[in-house]
Structure formats: structure tokens, C-alpha cells
Symmetry: C2
Subunit: 405 residues, 2 copies
């Protein structure tokens, strides 16, 4: 079960964004697996995609379409990732776009396609095309919750975030949804996430804001170290709140950026809380480093260590494994004798060895918790990085040994 | 259970090397956990150690002793790694050496200490010192098998290799033993391994040969991506065969080097076959790369992927996960459309997408095997790298969630 409070919040509608779902039967019957997002004219869109070289056909096509036209629709299917499918995969993704373009009387390049699910199987484009009228008929500004459900694969819970901020005497909304549970290791964006706002933001600024917040949100989580072929994060700004965010008022940009960062961090954390087989939600904070990059490198070595992750699952304060992970992280001029490590507020390592105040009982008490902070102090600079991860359980193996069959 | 044939071979004695074991009760009673290796005068020794910055106290001390004197004894304990133990750990390792030096009437710097086991616990030096007379009394050239047993931790089986080669009309022997099952990710040497030969080889050449063969043997395996704090590999040459290996006869060096490489590869493979929870033995061969380094980088991305490893455990030909791992390996100018991937002799990916000749039935037949070859062709050069790994099973989680408790 997911760790902590993962209840879907009230998903505030975003004026100018309508969502519709359908049962296409891509892989499974009796579940919604198709999601359509319609953007009102004037909406600007920014996106970041996976850096996996084997990016999926829909990612390739979406990138092409983004430079050709302003998106009017996002078309998302689950059950099939349409990745590792070569030229036929591109044709299948194109066919889905063409079919929707015909129904909506727009150009195919005004549609961004997204897929998630099994890699390497041919996409059943016909099933998706047949379900498009159903999804179009379902379009509504109120359907964020249904959409958040329709985009899931091995996820247990739908993931959403919604907030309002006051700007220029008006109210600006941000609402977002995400899916992802396994094959989670950030490199650009992670899995599928869609965030909408009713602020008006020109494309270049929108893209810049998205790239800035993604580093400390979606690119700061990992479940299993495997970067997906289909990762995509899309930010859509309809402008229908009447509030324009631009560099003419940098203070407003900062306020909006902070709210957007919070939305992305919350969605990213929900992915970790619902990580495959997760029983613990772990925050890793690496502090007082020379650079943010070295802090991230050390944090990732801890977050990715199967030995640290199984010790977390066992609630075992086997902190030598944390220390070993720091030591192999590849930051080779690190003074290990300066290092301090805390589990929550319990100091376990000082000056590179077991803290004099540490006792197994203190460590056990922290490790028994469902949410744990691992804090590493490098004592050589002023930079820091926070990462989020989960533990490694029997259920991770079960889910990934069973998936597909 | 270990994968494949892991029976300890007949461990041929090496003239000039005597081994003794004892029950010190470092962590558990009723098992041998102390091993002494005595080297006859004139023996040369080469060693490589972990690159983990948190190297254990015995590793630090062994490195110091190696530059001070020619080793006469190797002292190995299991049950406690004496790592993450700071200044007290160094004192404890020194105390064990001093105690043995007194009994054997030599200098402490003529002893190399080694430890393996739990990280972060104080080393019970008194128990080790008390058991030294027992180990000294047990010294014999015939005790390789007992020694191979005494150095184990979570290993299921002892690991050994032994061979004879004909050189200069005489017979040269190589016999080696290794331990290691978890926290296996090569970076220099992996875990503890000791290889002896009765050839005479001067120290500089011995060290060079060891460093050359380690790259494609111990540094080409991974179980879980975690580099140990205690990795050590020692090569000892007693010279008592009457055969001298030197650069005056390069052909002999090559013959010896090939035999040494085979010994190290066999021992390294045994570690993988006995990998924690392993049910499959997997060879990863990355071919036709520009550099050996990029082949290794891609091979490691596959070998370390929890998704690939759980699919191997499930015997599921979920090859999209292999493709995704190649894509995220970080070789960023790779032409993914040129890629070919085989499972044994079944072509699963050609030109970056599913091979036309591939069928699920063919993939399933390979994946059902206990020993599997994953072969990736990059089609951009003449270099290659072979790696060995195992799968990720429920038992890996069980072993590492239970270890310590």
C-alpha cells in the first residue's frame, strides 16, 4: 500500500482545460485507459521528455508536433508504451493523431500523443481510434479525477495536486496529475505528468519555469533506478484567470514558480509514496556540499543501493550500508573523516565513524517509522540536494516478476 | 541455491603457502571464522583493494604494511568488517597484527589484516587474538579447502579454483579462493580473494599482471551494485616450482597471465553463481563498441537494472527492459536504430526494434534456462566487454532484510 496520505485532493478545474476518458481495451477490459485533454485556444504549452535514447514513438512524435503547432489536444493511452516499436510504432502513433484530427477538425500536428505500459508490443491503434468518440463526448472541465485514474498502470492510487494562489488581485489555479510507480529514475521528467494553470504565460517563460522546477521535483525521485522510455511532463497555461505572468513583474514570476514547484514536488512525492512495493517513504538530504551535483550524486548512491533499500524494508538500522554507499558514490576527493550522518534527529555517524551518542535502540526507533529522513553532511560547502525514494520489498520483486503475465 | 556447478575442485597445494583456520567466535559460535595464510620466505605479493572511500580499517592497515615490508602472514576474519569504525577500528586491527607478530616472532608490518562481515560494529580483537594459537597450530599446505570455508559470510558455498600449467619443462600451479555473495559491485577488486602460485615473479610484474586481469574478472561482475568497503584481492608467488616468470621471456608471461586470468574469472563467476538469492547466471556481452569503457557502461546498466533482474527471475522475456536500460546507460551518441540484441541465439531486437523473426515462444525458451547470454551489438567499433551477473529474487530481499538480525 502507498506510504502516507495519498488521498486525491479536490481537483479544482482549470478554465480552458477539458478532460475526457474512455475504455479502449488497449490491454485490459473494464477500465478507462484512454484520456483526452482539450486545450482552449490561446493556451500555451511547455513540455519535458525522457532522456532515455530509446524514447518511445509518441515521445518522438510529440516533440515534432510541438515545434510545428500549438497543441490543442493531448491524447494519452495506458496499457502499451509504444516503445521499442520502430517505424511501425511511429505510424501507429500518427494514425491515432490523424483519427482524432479528423473527428475534431484540426491538424494532426496540433495533437500531442502519449503512451505508457508494456514496452515492445505493437500499439493497437484501431482500439484507440474506435474509443475516441467516447472520450470526446466525455470532455469536461470537471474530469481531472477521472483522468488521473485513466492514466495509471501499476499505480495503486491516482495522483493529483491542486491549489489556488492570489496574484494581481485575482486567483490563479494550478491543478496537476501524474502516473508512475516503477521504472522511476528521473532524467528530465519522470513518467507522465500533466499540470494545468489558468494563468497566462508566454511559451518561452513557461518552458523555462518548467525546466527549473523539474530538477528539484521529478528529477529528484527514484524508485528503482530505471529511466522510462516514455517520461513526459506537460505544463499548460490557459490564461483564463485573466492573470498574466511575465518578466515585467519578476515578483509574480517567483510566486507562481514557487507554487508550480510545490505542485511538481507533491506529484513527484506521490509517485514515490506509490512506488512499486513501497512500505517506506524516505527523504534523503545531502547538505554542505561543494556543488549541488555532488550532493545529488551522493544522495542517488544511497537512494539506489539495494542494500540500503532492503535494510529500510526490514526497519534495520544497518547504517554501515549508508556509509558504504556514500563511499562508492564517486565523489573521490571527499574527506570521509569529516562526514556526519543522521537518521531523523539521531546522529549515527560523526567524523566518519559511529557517533559516540549512538545506540542501536535509537536507530531502531527511527527505522521503525513509515517516513524516514536520511541526512548526510559533507562539511565542505554550502550546497544541498533533497531526494525522495522508497524501500525495496518482496512486493517490488513480486510486482515486477509478475507484470505482463 | 547457487546456479550451475559450484563444487569446490581439488585444491592443489602451493609449495610455500600454508593455511590454518580457527573458531574465534567473532560473531557466531561453532564455525571457523579465522583464517591464517603463511608465506614462505622469498614469496612476492601483489594486492588490489576496494575503491570505496570508506575503506575498512584492515584495508588501510594492509596498504600501509605492504609498503613497509614483505608480507609473511595474511590474517582474515569474518563476522565483522571492521569498517566505519574510525580510529578505534585501526587500533583493533593493529592489536590483532601485534598479537600474531609476537606469537610468530616477526614484525607486525609483515602481516596483512583482512576483515569481512557486518559494517560499523567494533571488532572483538580479543577473540581473534585468543584464537591465533589454534590457527597457527592448524597451518598446512593442504588446508585450502578449509580456508575457503572459513572466510565465508552469507555465501552458501566455498569458492575455489586450481590448475597446473607447463612452463620451462616444469609444472606451475595456481590455486585461489574467494568469498562474496552480496555487496558485490566491482571497483578494483571485489570482496576477498586470495590466489597463490609457486612460480617466481618479481613484485612489480606480479602487481602489473594482477591489475591487468582484475579488470575482466573481478571488476566485471555485479550482484547488487553495492561496492564493498572491504574488497581485497591478493596474489602470492612463492617461487617454489623453480619456474621464474619475467619479461625476459614474454611468451611465458602471456601463458601465465592467461592462466591467472582464467583463475580470476572462475573465482569471480563463482561469486555471481552464489550471488545472494541468485536463481540465474547471466552473461552480458556488449560487442562492436567504440571503446571497452562504453561497452562496460552499457553492460552495467543492463546488469544493474532491477527491472531486468526481476524479469530474469520471472523467466519473462520482457526485453523492452533491456532496451530501456541500454537507452539510459549514458552513451549519448549511440545510434539506437543500429542496435541488435540477442538472448542466447535468439535475435530479439534488430535495427532498434523488435526483430521480425522474434516470437514470444522463442524468448520464453531462452529465459526458462538457468544460464542466459544477453548479447548487445552496437555496430560502431571493434571493442567488447563481457560482464556476469545474477537475477533479483525474493530471496535477495529476504537475505538482506534478515542479515544482522
Amino acid at each position: 500500500m502507498p506510504v502516507g496520505n495519498v488521498t486525491l485532493p479536490e481537483m479544482l478545474s482549470i478554465a480552458g482545460i477539458r478532460l475526457g476518458v474512455a475504455q479502449a481495451g488497449v490491454r485490459y477490459a473494464n477500465r478507462t485507459d484512454l484520456c483526452l485533454i482539450e486545450l482552449a485556444p490561446g493556451t500555451t504549452t511547455a513540455a519535458v521528455f525522457t532522456r532515455n535514447l530509446f524514447c518511445a514513438a509518441p515521445v518522438t512524435l510529440a516533440k515534432q508536433h510541438l515545434v510545428q503547432a500549438n497543441p490543442q489536444y493531448l491524447l494519452i493511452n495506458t496499457g502499451n508504451a509504444n516503445a521499442g516499436t520502430g517505424a511501425l510504432g511511429l505510424l501507429a502513433a500518427g494514425e491515432c493523431c490523424e483519427s482524432l484530427a479528423k473527428l475534431a477538425q484540426i491538424k494532426a500536428c496540433e495533437i500531442l500523443p502519449f503512451s505508457t505500459g508494456v514496452i515492445g508490443e505493437p500499439l493497437p491503434a484501431d482500439r484507440i481510434c474506435n474509443a475516441l468518440p467516447q472520450a470526446l463526448a466525455d470532455l469536461s472541465e470537471q474530469h481531472w479525477a477521472a483522468a488521473a485514474q485513466a492514466i495509471l498502470t501499476t499505480d495503486i492510487v491516482p495522483k493529483g495536486y491542486s491549489c489556488e494562489i492570489a496574484l494581481q488581485g485575482k486567483t490563479v489555479r494550478i491543478t496537476g496529475m501524474a502516473k508512475g510507480s516503477g521504472m522511476i529514475h528521473p532524467n528530465m521528467a519522470t513518467m507522465l505528468a500533466y499540470v494545468g494553470t489558468d494563468a497566462a504565460i508566454a511559451s518561452p517563460l513557461l518552458q523555462q519555469l518548467l525546466q527549473e522546477v523539474v530538477e528539484d521535483s521529478f528529477n529528484a525521485i527514484t524508485v528503482d533506478g530505471d529511466t522510462s522510455t516514455n517520461d513526459s511532463l506537460v505544463l499548460m497555461a490557459t490564461g483564463q484567470s485573466g492573470v498574466t505572468i511575465s518578466m515585467e513583474c519578476p515578483a509574480d514570476v517567483q510566486i507562481f514558480k514557487a507554487a508550480l514547484a510545490q505542485a511538481c514536488i507533491s506529484l513527484a512525492q506521490l509517485i514515490v509514496r506509490d512506488g512499486e512495493g513501497a512500505t517506506k517513504f524516505v527523504t534523503i538530504l545531502v547538505e554542505s556540499g561543494k556543488t549541488k551535483a555532488e550532493c545529488k550524486q551522493i544522495g542517488l548512491a544511497i537512494a539506489l543501493s539495494p542494500l540500503v533499500k532492503t535494510a529500510l524494508f526490514a526497519s534495520d538500522p544497518n547504517w554501515g550500508r549508508i556509509l558504504a554507499a556514500v563511499g562508492r558514490a564517486g565523489v573521490n576527493d571527499l574527506d570521509v573523516n569529516a562526514l556526519t550522518i543522521y537518521l531523523d534527529d539521531v546522529c549515527i555517524v560523526e567524523q566518519g565513524a559511529r557517533a559516540s551518542s549512538y545506540s542501536e535502540a535509537l536507530g531502531k526507533a527511527v527505522m521503525a517509522k513509515e517516513e524516514i529522513l536520511i541526512r548526510v553532511l559533507l562539511h565542505r560547502g554550502a550546497m544541498s540536494q533533497t531526494l525522495w525514494t522508497c524501500d525495496f520489498s518482496y512486493d517490488y520483486v513480486r510486482i515486477n516478476a509478475d507484470y505482463r503475465s
